[in-house]
């Protein structure tokens, strides 16, 4: 199973160090494709755009999702049965439908194509990922500590910041990371909604692949992979620090 999962990635990484022009015929070890990619202004601009969109969208989505999860805590409020599934609505709509519909929507209400629209759209489809993660944690969270804080006359705000939030923090972080990666990965919606100076990494890569598959594409992919893994490791590390 894990072999099946990893062989394609392994091959991808190995061939990014290929010295030759061809993506499938090995011609010796070389870092030339990494050098070529790193020197490209377009690659750097796309990386910056991707990181900006992903950070903003993940931050907004996590904030909204956390608030919503807090709202759904404890005794169900009226309409909750409808509201919780509604928050996963973006998850069940095929990406191509979202992309097309959002494009038309932006045109008709006059939102200019570009970073702002891109961040808004990404935020929306990131909310379910953050929400599901945070809600799952909240459902199994013990509220005795909060009860105790209340009994000790801590005001609600204090209870929230010194008890609830620290307990919830790992889930919020996990939700953020998930949202971040989902945003970083998105291609179809970004392609439809990108405007001037908002080309993201997947769009840039798609452009490279149209011309032909050189090991440069592998190099970009490997860089993307390393970036994703790095974020997860940082999250895991923070998580462990928290627990200590």
């Amino acid at each position: 199973m894990y072999v099946y999962l990893y062989i394609p990635l392994l091959i991808l990484i190995v061939f990014s160090f290929n010295g030759g022009r061809m993506a499938t015929i090995w011609e010796g070890f070389s870092l030339r494709w990494y050098a070529e990619v790193m020197q490209s202004d377009q690659f750097r601009a796309a990386t910056v755009n991707s990181l900006v969109v992903a950070s903003c969208a993940a931050f907004l989505a996590t904030t909204l999702a956390t608030l919503a999860a807090l709202g759904f805590r404890g005794r169900p409020i009226r309409g909750q049965g409808m509201m919780v599934p509604f928050l996963s609505f973006p998850l069940v709509i095929p990406e191509i439908v979202t992309a097309v519909a959002t494009l038309i929507f932006f045109i008709s209400i006059g939102v200019p194509l570009g970073m702002v629209g891109l961040i808004a759209a990404h935020t929306v489809f990131c909310i379910p990922f953050a929400f599901i993660t945070i809600k799952a944690r909240m459902d199994v969270m013990d509220d005795t500590l909060e009860q105790a804080a209340n009994d000790l006359y801590a005001d609600p705000r204090r209870t929230f910041f010194s008890v609830t939030l620290p307990l919830l923090w790992p889930a919020i972080l996990a939700g953020f990371i998930l949202a971040f990666i989902v945003s970083l990965d998105d291609f179809v919606i970004s392609l439809f909604l990108a405007g001037p100076s908002s080309t993201t990494l997947p769009i840039y890569m798609f452009g490279m692949m149209r011309l032909g598959v050189t090991p440069a594409v592998n190099a970009v992919s490997t860089i993307l992979l390393v970036m994703s893994v790095l974020f997860v490791l940082i999250a895991a590390w923070i998580n462990r620090m928290q627990r200590k």
Binding site: Q39, S40, A194, S197, F206, G207, R210, G212
Partner: protein
Amino acid sequence: MKLRTIASAALAALLGAGAALAEEEKQVNLFFWPSYIPDELLERFTKETGIAITMDIYDTNEALLAKLQAGAAGYDVVIPSGYIVPTMIQAGLLQKFDAPSLPNGGNIAPGFADPEFDPGRQYTAPYMWGTTGLVYDSAGTDVELPESWSVFFEPGPLSGKVAALDDEVEVFNAAAYYLGIDKCTEDPREGQQILDLLSAQKPHLLLYGSSGTIDRVLAGEVTMHHIWNGAAHRVRKARDTARYIYPKEGITQWADNLAIPTGAEHPENAKIFIDFLMKPENVAEITNFTGYMNAISGSEPYLTPEIAADPAVNMPAEYADRLRPGRECSPAARDLRNRIWTRLKK
């Protein structure tokens, strides 16, 4: 107005975007096909003029049209193909800048100075042009193939080793040339003939694919590929047994153009950029990089010998009467074409 344009452009060329343009920030936003201009040239432009460049990419003319229709303001230079230019002008998406009036405007080659899609070059300047033909590896066929679409539609021994572009328009047009039918036909009977031809061809194709064409031929996945001539040139550079075919029934000639959208934020910088690309030594660099011919007189001395010697790029004059310029079809013709394409792939 015109005088002012000339004056400002001339001044810009002299001073490298000087005082006259002080009100525009030193930036120009390009919206291009991917890998259609060498990075080194962009860097040189920035160094010479002090104007920074941002680059975004799109992958079809229709995507460009849709984006501009959607009100994507801020792109300063775009490169629509000829056939879609009239639609864009009519929709008010492009602004006039009178290309011949730019300092290097006189360099436009005679055959490209007054195109049907933009008489007098009021809205566009020429960029690259090329053809959509066939490339094959003669090492895989043992014989030289005839210059006809027949080898593509009835591949015989090459069955299963042929790839077509995944492009509704290009595939439909090739079939129309081969059958001698108008590519903008609205007649369902003629449409049916084209569908029959394409359906009969489909089992012999390995795939429809527009990306990775060069690699596919070089890796030996296919022996023949329906291809744009710049890609064919790159195949030939790596494999000297590769041949490019200009089919005798007709071959699409497309021409990409530099244009300034109505919503451009830096129209003056856009003109400076376009003028820069009409300088023979600069545009030659693009031809050397892309493998597509330019339409600027005087660029020939700057071409690399391998480009100049490749008939796939530097078309021999005897093929000129085989060229069929790309054309915008009527909505009815487009609908018929799309229905045939859908039915072919149903």
